[in-house]
């Protein structure tokens, strides 16, 4: 039996560790809406307002139904860093503050994965969510600052 050399063993051990610790690197987060939603593009400023529920209605007057992902998902980490600019604990305080001021009645809806979010947004005409751009299916991807996921300068790229 051929005994693997030390370099090969080290490589076999380290690559999975590196991949796990860098799961978010190279991840583009797509902002998705229902295919019936006429919105095709939003600015970063408007996206921040929507995700913070400072803006709660679409341009046509329909109520925005915001759906987030659970704590710990790579997609949520990108959005916390790039849009909310706060950590998860601060975000929970933020939602509670908005409830205290009477701006919202409860925390936003939260689902466990990009698949769940895509499925929900695909069924609910006025919903908006965020998913791993490589997992988009059955929904419309919205441009942010004129760019789609994968394009140079896309604001919600993790790297």
């Amino acid at each position: 039996m051929k005994i693997p050399n030390r370099s090969a063993v080290l490589f076999a051990l380290l690559v999975p560790l590196a991949s796990a610790s860098n799961a978010a690197i190279g991840l583009d987060v797509a902002i998705i809406v229902n295919t019936a939603n006429p919105t095709t593009s939003i600015s970063s400023r408007e996206l921040e307002k929507i995700l913070k529920q400072d803006k709660q209605n679409w341009e046509d007057g329909k109520k925005i139904l915001l759906v987030l992902q659970e704590t710990g998902t790579a997609e949520k980490e990108v959005v916390l860093n790039k849009v909310y600019k706060m950590q998860e604990a601060e975000l929970k305080k933020f939602w509670l503050s908005k409830m205290f001021r009477g701006e919202i009645a409860s925390f936003p809806k939260t689902l466990s994965s990009s698949g769940s979010v895509s499925q929900f947004v695909g069924k609910v005409p006025n919903a908006i969510g965020f998913v791993d751009a490589s997992l988009v299916s059955g929904v419309k991807v919205v441009k942010v600052d004129g760019k789609l996921p994968g394009e140079a300068g896309y604001p919600l790229a993790s790297k």
Binding site: R45, K49, D54, K55, Q56, N57, G61, K63, L65, L66, L68, E70, T71, K85, Q87, A89, E90, K92, K93, L96, S97, M99, F100, R101, G102, I104, A105, S106, F107, P108, K109, T110, L111
Partner: protein
């Protein structure tokens, strides 16, 4: 360091052990899966949150003798209820248990209102709500856990000089206009009662209604910065004493500026108040109040802070019967061992009507 000061610090240090137990047991960090828009057949879902605080205060010098000295004391217990009745209709209620200076508890409906969210630009609210004055009143109010500091600014004390509640109707909204976002609130309601302690929950004392307007702008070029102003006009009814036989015209205006960005917290507010007694002589009395607060978040859990408080009430005012001038400096630190609990320790030193005041205040504020 005196014995009493040492005892206070030992007590405060012991309190620090409690959060470490909670952390070791994996205390829940709050819910995430919420917000179900009610269907036509299902009843609305009620969300209940609570807020409370427990305090210890040590006075070294006092200008007056009407406050509790060197004492543990309970803050307000705030039961906060919200419900989404329909896609564009929500309800909020705030029930508060408080304690008088004679230790007797009493209970109050601090807020109860229904809001019709017509659009981002237009929301209509009816009921008992926070008056649209400044920043602190609408942001913190009864939730000591929300505010950085242990004590409220002097101008926002409950039963202080400002009218902090309104029972009536309010129209508010926000609008993006190019490089700025504009927020506005216009409200009308029952206004002041006969004394500062009165709240006109079920009956106004006169036909005149208070009118309250607030507007603020937030420039997109300076994230986290907002500046605004407000105006309150009211006619205070006559009181039940010989010195209060006439109505009083009240005019109050204020400005505020806040900057909240990352670890930085900067708040500043200023108010001017004028009372004119509607008698033949029409005497006029002025009052001013202000605070400026700065805080900086360190390593997510620690937040040192400083605040300057100022208040000046002209003597002879038949409505503001505690005249005097106050200037106070407060220096403190807040530690959040986990998300839902804040421990605060602050020293304050100032002068009230020519007399020195110094105090140490320790607080554990929490939400549940």
């Amino acid at each position: 360091m005196g014995m009493r000061m040492r005892a206070a610090l030992i007590v405060f240090s012991a309190v620090l052990l409690v959060p470490s137990l909670a952390t070791a047991q994996g205390a829940p960090e709050g819910d995430e899966a919420e917000a179900v828009t009610p269907s036509g057949s299902a009843p609305p879902r009620l969300v209940i949150k609570g807020f409370g605080d427990v305090n210890f205060r040590l006075f070294r010098e006092k200008a007056t003798n009407d406050d509790t000295r060197n004492s543990f004391f309970l803050g307000q217990i705030d039961l906060f209820l919200t419900s989404q009745l329909a896609e564009r209709v929500s309800v909020l209620a705030e029930l508060v248990a408080k304690f008088r200076t004679n230790n007797d508890p009493f209970y109050d409906v601090d807020r109860i209102h229904i809001t019709y969210h017509l659009s981002d630009t237009a929301n209509i609210r009816l009921g008992k709500m926070h008056a649209a004055l400044g920043y602190w009143n609408q942001t913190y109010h009864h939730g000591a856990w929300f505010q950085t500091t242990a004590a409220r600014p002097e101008i926002y004390l409950f039963n202080g000089i400002l009218p902090i509640h309104l029972i009536g109707i309010e129209l508010y909204g926000t609008k993006a206009l190019g490089p700025v976002d504009i927020d506005y609130t216009v409200s009308a309601g029952n206004g002041r009662g006969k004394t500062l302690a009165d709240t006109t929950n079920v009956s106004d004392f006169n036909n005149a209604k208070a009118v309250n307007v607030l507007a603020s702008i937030a420039p997109a070029a300076i994230p986290g910065f907002k500046i605004g102003g407000d105006l309150w006009l009211d006619t205070i009814p006559p009181g039940d004493t010989a010195s209060r036989v006439d109505s009083i015209r009240e005019r109050l205006w204020g400005v505020h500026a806040v900057y909240l960005n990352g670890p930085v917290e900067l708040l500043a507010e200023y108010f001017e108040m004028n009372h004119v007694v509607k008698s033949a002589a029409r005497p006029s009395y002025d009052a001013q109040g202000a605070y400026a607060q700065a805080a900086y978040q360190i390593a997510t859990e620690w937040k040192p802070y400083y605040r300057f408080d100022y208040q000046n009430v002209e003597s002879g005012n038949p409505y503001l019967t505690a005249p005097g001038r106050l200037q106070r400096h407060t220096l403190g630190v807040r530690w959040d061992p986990f998300t839902w609990n804040g421990l605060k320790l602050e020293l304050s030193a100032g002068r009230r009507d020519g007399h020195n005041e110094r105090a140490l205040l320790a607080q554990t504020a929490f939400t549940f």
